[in-house]
Amino acid sequence: MVAEYRKLVTTRMWWVLLLALAAYLAFIGGALAFSIVVAAENEQGDLMLHGVDAAASIYGLTNAIGYVFPLVIGSLAMTTEFRHQTITQSLLVEPRRGVFLGAKLLATLPLGLLYGVVATAAVVLASAPVLAGLGDGAFLTEPDIIEVLLLSVVVTALWAMIGVAFGSVLTNQVAAIVVILAVTQFVEPIARVALGAFDALDGVAKFLPGAAADGLIGASLLGSMDGGSAELLPRWAALLVMLAYAGILAAIGRFTTLRRDIG
């Protein structure tokens, strides 16, 4: 555990990604808050959000668009081992491969929480003044909003864990990042909207990982704005679905990658 944690924080990648995440979310958060406020003032767009909903959706950005970062850092924790063949040394000190994978999954949680805190703080710092100054208010003391903020942090840590599990399945670093980008930026958003368009499949969309994360937070930008499936899982179920993604991917990794000969 400690070893796995040290692995994460002894390279530069973790804070490079963290800074990128913070900058990215601050920018989007500020821009989105601004556009919602302006749109509301001009009385356009019936789909636009008001009041607490607007605040919740914006604060939920950490998950809605920021989740690719914890996913990537999580996958890197695993794929780096294979890219630089440090997996050899790792398995020399811990030959029980299940224990090795478990330690990696858990060690990512504190870093994931840190990502969550920084990301959420970045969104709030950029958007709250806009909402408060020009819009209906920042609602930072509203219990619902505080829940959204705290759960955003938790969800970010879970994403990091899913990233580790995914990296154990797809150990090629470049391939893993490409797949993560493709799925998060393209496949899942489209799938959510597409599935939402068919009544028969509407129920499936909420089990997609991003939708489950929205369910856990209880706020969905995609769900509320794009006219897609607005239906989300209840929080407990959403948490289970996210953990299931991590668990199933990790199990696949354990019985494929980590069963093979190393080196």
Binding site: A3, R6, T11, T80, H84, T86, T88, L91, P95, D261
Partner: protein, 297 residues
């Protein structure tokens, strides 16, 4: 301290159609330095990876003491191993590399600092490994292997990339470990690189064992060579022919194979042939090695 005996028992490993290791058996005793030798591709690394539980043998078993490596409580405290000189994260500093693995080995940061000084990387401790030379990586690999102060040490091609000074230093270190009673196994594809370091040799070729003995017993297989020079080369030539020796022209004299210097000297003396040089060229260990490893099929 008495190190564990390392045992390879009837081990085979196939990669697809390649039979990398084939019915290989040998043991490595504590208190000695054993050289694990064979040309490139002979199966040394594969065997060591199987010994350390990284690769699963197709047949047979490999033991560290009484059980396989992975079944030891804290294996890195039983066997310290360095496999490839390249398996470091290039973005980590040398010291950080040690500190990453220290918790699982069960040692402190203090020990990491001491070790990095010990292997001569003190000045480079806080530099990224990406900028290390091959020899520095070898030293860092060695430091990693020594983290847990293990009673057995397994090093794959440790002399690769080391400067001559480094080789002498490594030789002394391994000798000291063996004298303390530890088990020391080092691989190499060049016998002469380790011939001053090892007590025992295990030689493989194409995955099969071709020779296992003490270094002295290996040397007995080698033919002595004697260089001899005379102001009367014709007489010297006749002497060799009369005795039935194989002699080849070399420098300004002859190189006689299969005969020790004393015998050549005595023969020349009784035949009244004047000698200006008579020197033992030592045993051609490398020739023995090449003969042993080239002949296996």
């Amino acid at each position: 301290m008495t190190g564990p005996t390392l045992a390879v028992e009837g081990v085979a490993k196939t990669f697809g159609a390649v039979r990398a290791v084939d019915d290989l058996s040998f043991t490595v005793r504590p208190g000695a330095v054993t050289g694990f030798l064979g040309p490139n591709g002979a199966g040394k690394t594969t065997t060591l990876r199987m010994l350390l539980g990284l690769t699963r043998p197709t047949a047979g078993r490999l033991l560290v003491g009484d059980r396989p490596y992975g079944e030891h409580e804290r294996p890195a405290r039983v066997v310290g191993a360095a496999l490839e000189a390249s398996s470091f994260h290039p973005g980590r500093t040398g010291l950080a590399h040690l500190e990453v693995f220290a918790p699982q080995v069960g040692v402190s940061r203090q020990r990491c600092r001491e070790l990095i000084e010990f292997v001569g990387l003190g000045p480079a401790a806080d530099r990224r490994v990406g900028g290390y030379s091959m020899g520095m990586r070898q030293r860092l690999g060695l430091a990693t292997a020594l983290l847990g102060d293990p009673p057995a040490i397994v090093l794959d091609e440790p002399a690769n990339g080391l400067d001559p000074e480094g080789i002498v230093w490594l030789r002394r270190l391994l000798r000291a470990f063996a004298d303390e009673g530890r088990t020391v196994l080092i691989s190499s594809h060049v016998l002469t690189e380790v011939q001053h370091t090892v007590d025992d040799v295990v030689i493989i070729a194409r995955g099969k064992l071709v020779h296992a003995s003490s270094l002295a017993a290996l040397a007995d297989l080698a033919e002595p060579e004697t260089y001899v020079e005379s102001p009367d080369p014709a007489a010297l030539q006749r002497l060799c022919e009369a005795r039935g020796w194989t002699a080849a022209a070399s420098d300004r004299g002859l190189l006689v194979t299969g005969v020790v210097a004393a015998e050549v000297g005595a023969a020349a003396h009784s035949a009244g042939v004047e000698l200006h040089q008579l020197a033992s060229r030592g045993v051609g260990l490398e020739d023995v090695f090449l003969r042993l490893t080239g002949g296996a099929s």
